[in-house]
Amino acid sequence: MIELTEDALDPEKVTAKVRRDTNGAVVTFLGTTRDNFEGKTVLTLEYEAFDEMAVKKLEEVRQGLMAEYGLDQIAISHRIGTVGIGEISLIVAVGSPHRKEAFYACHAAVDRIKEVVPIWKKEVYRDGSRWVACEDHEFSPEDQYSSETHTH
């Protein structure tokens, strides 16, 4: 149910993993790559992961949310390597008997993934590149990496 891959992601395939006849709702989130940053044209994105830890953290996020929302089906796929503009970089699919839990769990999954999973993206421009690292966080003392956030 966790996948880290250099291949193009297929929403149908990931969604199918969480389909059950006992479920009344499936919410699938697609994260897609944007072509601009502060007026600059982004040509492509490069994703890098600390693979072993990324898979482990994705599984922790998944297990944590299944326990919190009482769900049995969450699938997460993240693409790494070079990803073209407008392509899918992240898929989170949640299957649930009822829609409310599926929406909440899917939203929470994306937030947590962005916070704790060691994956990095670099935007490549015509005249350079930039690791997307929330510069506002990076240069702030109270950044997202307080020990509290990362104690699991």
């Binding site: 600390f50 482990k56 992240l90 916070e115 704790v116 994956i119 690791w131 966080h137 990362h150």
Partner: protein, 81 residues
């Protein structure tokens, strides 16, 4: 104690390598290690930015004591999704 410290993304590029050999005394903590890394690579991160460390694929607080053979990785601000 010598530790091979793995670097990713921004830190890898700033240091110009993906593994650095760091020597710290026995009983050294994660904070001691990041101090030593900053000494070797002053441009890795601004002083006000805490360098996040993973030990054996889990985030480690600064007071965690390192053991020989630990898998130590420096984790720049993440940006998946």
């Amino acid at each position: 104690m010598e530790l091979n410290v793995r670097l990713f993304a921004l830190y890898r590029e700033r240091a110009g390598r993906n593994i650095v050999l760091v020597t710290v005394p026995g009983g050294a903590t994660v904070a001691d290690l990041t101090d030593e890394v900053r000494r070797q690579f002053p441009n890795l991160a601004p002083p006000e930015v805490k360098i996040v460390v993973a030990v054996n694929t889990d985030y480690a607080d600064s007071d965690v004591v390192l053991q020989p053979g630990d898998d130590v990785c420096l984790i720049p601000p993440v940006s998946g999704g």
